[in-house]
Amino acid sequence: MADALLELMNVEVLYSNVILALKGVSLKVAPKGCVALLGANGAGKSTTLKAISGVIASDDGRVSGGSIAFAGQAIAGRETASVVRSGLVHVMEGRRVLPHMTVEQNLVIGGHMFANAARMRRALDGVYEAIPRLADLRTRTAGYLSGGEQQMLVIGRAIMAEPSLMLIDEPSLGLAPRMIEEVFAVLHRLRGNGLALLIVEQNTRVALELADYGYVMESGRIVLEGAAGELGANEDVREFYLGLDRDGGRKSFRDVKHYRRRKRWLG
């Protein structure tokens, strides 16, 4: 992967000048590649994406070390808008719709950089076709959509921008099983069209199906990386991320790890 589309080298991120959230993260996304970023809560996955796109600046954070290159250009510290214009969009965690706008307005704004209205229209139709649910909701105010509907909307909005690299933070969050299949089908199709993806996902199974390479983060560091297949076979990943027991069967949530249970509370 010599000519990676996105390359992070030893990136460090500092929040409020005191909290060091990333402690030297290096990762690469090949052109048209798909990379999954896994990790526990608070590991720094979202921070990584925010550092890449630059929105971290408005969270009182900054990239304090290392380098980030996108399509050969150093982008660390650049203004988000210009990074996004160069072909990278970031779907932030937390269903960040524009609440007072209708679904269609949200999508149109997603395609605000199209030169002419006809191309925008085409992209819009493309999104409606990919996620038909959005077509039904087009005149609804985004802020009143259900959680899952909002999730679909932000993904649709990102597609509108026709990026070459998409950073997605937890796309399956809050989606019903059938919707997850649909959304990932869309992502598969986009991959087929040459879109590169960096995806943070807790639904490890589908993520590893989609990705060809994966990284596992733990408290601000990459602790494990490998091809998607390898990772899927790793014992820890199987236990902690896929929820499988040693022989590959699914454990029941009812009798998991009661040994770790500490009944100090209400004891």
């Binding site: 526990a40 809560n41 608070g42 979202s46 899952g148 099983p177 919707m179 991320y241 509370w265």
Partner: protein, 252 residues
Amino acid sequence: MLSAEGVTLRFGGVTALSDVSIQVRADEMLAIIGPNGAGKSSLLNVLSGFYRPQEGRITYQGLDILGRPVHQIASDGVVRTFQGTHLFPHMTVLDNILIGRHARMRGGLAQAFVYFPWTRNEEARHREIAENIVEFLEIENIRHQPVGALGYGLRKRVDLGRALAMEPRVLVMDEPMAGMNTEEKEDLARFIIDVREARRIPVVLVEHDMGVVMDLADRVAVLDFGRKIADGTPAQVQADPAVIQAYLGAPA
């Protein structure tokens, strides 16, 4: 214990719930599932008094609670967690949990102004309860961090802690496990099981992770487009073709 009868809820042209009836029995875990936009969150909002349905009745411990102020319903024991998080981002984890104690504390403004020892002792008493919850949820290391700086998963845990601090008599949870990896889901599942064992309270759970729902729930209700299409044990529901068609898609 808590029940909705014939609830219909409309927003302008959108019918979020139509004629939905649901009963939460004492000491059971009821899961509500359904596709996105089916009306699950809306139903929880109706139960906790935030939405006022156009038709139907909500009863809690035998009393009609429709139209009661939200905060009263909450302090009477119908306690919930939120889809997404609705924590107080600028407050610390501990303060968020202490908010759960608010309705159980008594001191008035004037007492707070003078801050005599009894105010301080009351604070300390409740602080102790909050600390127990912190310990139970294993979030000791972040207790003084503002919640806004936490990742999604930890927030969900704090959200649960805050609800527990309210001493719920019915615990209503909206997608508590979204955004967690399997290990964390297991932890949370454990917390929920513990709470139920220790408190013997009913839990209403909305969740999209079928593994969790099928393993934990005693009973499952399925909503689709605002209507209840199924209600039964996990096994019954999982086998229901209407449910598979509307929700599960390929067998999980």
